[in-house]
Amino acid sequence: MTPDLIDLSYLLAAALFIIGLKGLTKPRTAVRGNLMGALAMFIAVAATMLHQDIIGWKGLLIAIGIGAFAGTVLALKIEMTAMPQLVALFNGLGGGASVLVAGAFLAGKEFSARVASESCFADVLTATAASGLIGAVTLSGSLVAFAKLQELKFIKDVSFPGQKLLNLGLTVSAIGLGWLLVSQPEHAQLWYWLMSGLAVGLGILLVISIGGADMPVVIALLNSYSGLAASATGFVLNNNLLIIAGALVGASGLILTRIMCDAMNRSLWAVLFGTMQSGGSSLSDEEVYTSVKSTSADEVAMMLEVSQSVLIVPGYGMAVAQAQHAVRDLTNLLLNRDVDVQFGIHPVAGRMPGHMNVLLAEADIDYDRLKEMDEVNSMMDQIDVAIVLGANDVVNPLARTDPNSPIAGMPIIDVDKARTVIVVKRSLSPGFAGIANPLFAADNALMLFGDGKKAISEITKAFDDA
């Protein structure tokens, strides 16, 4: 294949990536969109492999085989609830690949020839440094995020005095090494790997002090970084497909980050530097939980029997309990008995944007029943029974009432304004934000303690028997 044909294939691939992303704007076209993206990737890789300079066919095919096999197995075996971790893991691998590609470029023959002829341009070197720096931070940061989300034992929240100063120092040193790389191309490899090493450390330190539930924001941000790293690699290799695809991902990650921050009413800065003071002002548990009433599955079933419209507000607990199939059964039963069922989806319920939607889709619940926060809030007064399933922060009225609470100003789903609220969770322990929830002690609220899946199944059974 001539270089020009390859370039044209890259252009085609770029267009397909764009059309594929456009497909994701509608559920109906989303599957096709994703396949277009995969096709684009296939075209790009195939065209590259037909490049005249490619000689190491065998090694290449082995490497691709290993990667494809491992990726597919992971992707097919993973539980839907573990999606955040998986994305973090893949993201880290992508970042790692950027580091290695830029490293291989510096180790390659073309580069030594350029150094010898003193025609190594500063722009290419800068891009190489950026690729390594961003890639390495993405790699280690993502792996730490993965470990935290997977709740691996060896990882814990680390924070020590002077941490910010250390981070700053590391950042400055890494950039300094990058500068050395640009100005002393003859020692490029040395500076490059030193820089990447520091950046790996930086990635670890940056993420390790961030709370588990802020991870989604971090992952989106790292996703954006991995895109930017790919773009930087594109500048190194003078390859505009990499530049375009990387920029698309960069934009996507940034926008998701912003959406999440908006929905949590926190600044990106606060997320990254952990300035959420867990419980700055808030009231103690004893003060809040004075009059908590608990209920049983039978009682709930009886209430549902006399209801006309039920709202289910799922949260992270539904993911933990894997309760989505149980919820589907209950929903179908209720619908059969002419009870209207809706779902109130908070934008940051769970641990990823759209987390609840995916779980409920997995359980075959019609996505027309999933309503966004604003819509649900505007019809809250017509709801007879609201079932809060493993959600906590996203229904905490303190966000509205207590301006000193860490979640003050975060928009919430106002279940407290429904006629009756049933809260399904295992205990009175707090959610991610670590604060008590006065909803549990509200006059119209009843607690149904227990594992989410078990509780919902019991309600279904009691309702069916009645």
Partner: protein, 121 residues
């Protein structure tokens, strides 16, 4: 003879310099700005498209765009495939494995998720 050779050499040098001048260099600043333009356009385009994606599809978007970021695979293939010496080849090999996992895994898991959305209706 010496002077004649020198004259020829001089002419040669001039020719080379002229050739280098006439042909705008691909590594030059103009080319860089062109690449930058591509980057800027792609960012704008990305922002326009992504803001249209509904919340329901945000998780697939995250994993799908993650798969796209594995485009570094193209760079990795170039790095491994070329006759570049052992060290570069090893780095390239690892890069290909990593990037392929990212790409293939990402698209497969996204497809798995989206297929769930499709089943209803």
């Amino acid at each position: 003879m010496l002077s004649s050779t020198l004259a020829v050499q001089d002419a040669v040098a001039k020719t080379v310099a002229a050739a280098a001048e006439n042909v705008p260099q691909s590594g030059g600043a103009a080319h860089l700005i062109l690449l930058l333009t591509v980057f800027v356009l792609a960012i704008f385009l990305g922002v326009e498209i992504i803001t249209k994606i509904p919340p329901t599809l945000h998780t697939p978007l995250m994993s799908g765009s993650n798969a796209i970021s594995g485009i570094t695979l193209v760079g990795a293939v170039l790095a491994t495939g070329a006759d570049n010496g052992t060290w570069a080849s090893i780095l390239g090999f690892a890069a290909v494995v990593f990037a392929t996992m990212n790409v293939v895994g990402g698209f497969v898991v996204t497809n798995r998720m989206l297929a769930m959305f499709r089943t209803k209706k």
